[in-house]
Structure formats: C-alpha cells, structure tokens
Amino acid sequence: MKPTDKAPDTPRSRASLRRFAVAALCAGMAGGPSLARADLQIVTQQGGPPALPVPVFQETGLPSFTMPMGTSSFVPPPTGGGGGSGDGGGSGGTPADDVMLSRSWGALASQNATAVGVSATAIAATCVLESGCQNLAAVGGSTVSGVYQMTNSTYLADIQAALAQNPSLAGTIDTSLAGKMDPANEAIAAAQDLKNAVYALQSVGVTNPTFLDARAYYQWGAGAGPSVAQAPDTASMFDTLSSYYTPAQLANNGISPSTTVGQWRQTIINKVGTAATQPVLI
C-alpha cells in the first residue's frame, strides 16, 4: 500500500487510530513546550524485560527530567489511595508503585528504600519521575545516570551516608560507582537523598514532609529545595531559580518564564498521583 492510500476500515486500522489518538492525548497531557526538545534514548535495563524508550530531557549537572510515556502513572487511582492501602494490586498502593514493581529489580529497590527509612512509594515516585523506571546511561558528558538519575558525586555521598547510618546494609550494599547502575543499589542512595531532603525541610519547620515537599530538593538541589517548598503557588518558578539555572536548563526541565510554583507542583501530582502527598519517611 502506498503511503497516501486510504486505509480500509478494518478493525486493525481502527486499532491503530485508537493507539494514535491515545498517544496524542498522553503527549498533550505530558508535553508542554519542552516536549519538543525531548530526545529518545535507548534504554539498557539490567536484568529486566525489554523496555520502551522514554523521552529524556538532558542537561549538564542536573538529573534528567523524563516523561514516562504510556504508563498508568499519569492517572491517579480513582480512590483516595493512601500509602500501603493495597489499591494497587499488592503494591504500595499507587500507580508509581506499580510501575517500579513491574521491573525485575523493583521489589528489592522497595525493600532497600524501606531499610533506609524511606517509603517505598516515595522511591517509586522518584523512579517514575526521573527515568520512567528505566536504567539510563549518562550522556553528553554528564555523570547523571541510572534509574534515579543521580550525579556521581551525589550518589557517592549518599551511598556512603546510607551505609554510615545503616551499618546492617554492609553485607549487601555496593558503595562503588559501579553500584549506581544497579537500580536496587542506587535506590539506597536515592532514598538517602530523599531522607536528607526531609531533614533539610524539617530544619525549616516542615514537620512531616511529603514527597512533593522533598521533590524540589531532589530536582533542584539542597539549597533550592526549602525555598521552593516554602514558596506560594503564585510565585514564579522561573525567577525563583534563574540565578542558579540558565533559561535552557530550566526549559529542559519543563520550566518556562511563565511557569508558577503551583504549576510545577501540579505537574508532579499529575505524574505520580497520590504518591505526591504521602510522607517520605516511614
């Protein structure tokens, strides 16, 4: 059939149309101006089933901002779904949990986060936001890599801190840089980073930080996290960060000059659903 031929009205062609429509709808939800800048990256998932490529927003020195496509994580469960409520079919109760637990390493990553004192849902939500739970290699001279998209320096600092605070992990934890590409092992460092975020937020009066509170720390840095967490919804996200991030870096992370802090918060909620409002610590 030539490309210009009209497809016959068959069930198969209708299915294709439906898939296209759903894909277009998902892209519309997730996109915004920065979606056009996404690069498809080949995924190397260790020890797991083949995985679809996901669009990744790359930049130097900052964890990549990734749009997980085609997963149910865009749609929160229809009920309230608190942590561990069991509405996710035996998972931690949110679509984010379901995505991470669908990976071969997901259950172990969940256990490792819990061992550090961080909720499985928080580490699952981080995995969904950072990479779509895909084990991504570093690109473009950046050291950002892995399921949790950590820089080498952050990973090493956090994995050492996790071991220091949890000596019982000594027999199983890999503190070498190579351990960053083992998703379950990197989960330990990522969980420690979320724990550090909680401590930073608690030091400024946020008594029981949620994942949404901690997300700014993880995405924008230790000093930026509390400022963003304590900003009003109407504040300009772009101007809050623009002394420390270039416009290109902000754009690569989905932040335009008109983006407010409230809109940024809502994008997180849209992607991870009820996981956003659950406490980080267990």
């Binding site: 980073d193 000093g223 304590q230 101007d239 002394s243």
Partner: protein, 135 residues
C-alpha cells in the same frame, strides 16, 4: 466498533479530569517588613552539589555555633550592611540567625529585570519567598 473510539476518548478524558488531584500549595498572607530577599553568591555547580552548604550561625562571630544552612533565597535584615562581616538573616523556619556577608549578593532574576522578590508570611505560618515575574 466505529462509535467506540469517541466514547473511549471521552471516558479517558473524564477520568483524567476527575481523578487528578490538585496541588495544595501555600498562599502568601502578608509581607514581612524589615527584611529583603537576597541570593547566594554561589555557582550552579555548588547548588546541585549535595556536599556544599552555606552555613548560618547563632551569632556574628567566627567562633559562633553553626545552627543550620542557608536556602538559595536568604531573607536579610534591612538595612544591608555591606561592610560588616555578618548579616542578620530570617530563616524559612522563622529563626533569626547570622550569615557571612561574603555569601550574599542582591536578589535578581538575570533574564527578567522586572522580577521582584519579597519575604512574606505564608499560609503555614512561616516565611517564604514571594517571587513575582511582573511580565
């Protein structure tokens, strides 16, 4: 089969709209007089470096106890005293602490000269940065 596509999309859109929760963010209540927003004189690399912190102290002295670290938008007591080695600072938790002047620079948004930042009391009872783009 033919009519199922619009119904399918309508159902999906309805589900998305009805189940997406909304950000329960903060609102700005009132400005906090006597303090101004500033920025830290640090680089992008230092911002993303988890091992880098700008310390704040209990008193304006090199021997004072470190009581925390500064966020990227410290609230500094007016009038700013550039010749002094330390400035008094209001933390996001509402405490008065001291920060070394060398870490401070005027607040600005480099690509938006119209932008402003003022310390406000937020709806959770703590200070926060109210950054307006004024575009």
């Amino acid at each position: 089969m033919r009519s199922s596509l619009p119904l399918f999309l309508l159902t999906m859109v309805t589900q998305i709209v009805s189940t997406n929760s909304h950000a329960q963010g903060l609102t700005a209540v009132e400005p906090i007089p006597g303090f101004v927003c500033m920025n830290l004189a640090i680089s992008h690399e230092q911002v993303v470096d988890r091992s880098f912190f700008v310390p704040v102290y209990s008193a304006p002295s090199p021997t004072a106890t470190q009581v925390g670290t500064s966020s990227i938008i410290p609230f500094i007591k007016e009038p700013f005293q550039p010749r002094e080695a330390y400035q008094q600072m209001l933390t996001l938790g509402g405490q008065l602490v001291w920060i070394e002047t060398k870490w401070l620079k005027p607040w600005s948004s480099p690509s938006n000269p119209k932008a402003t930042c003022t310390p406000w009391l937020m709806s959770n009872g703590r200070p926060g940065p109210k950054v307006d783009s004024n575009r």
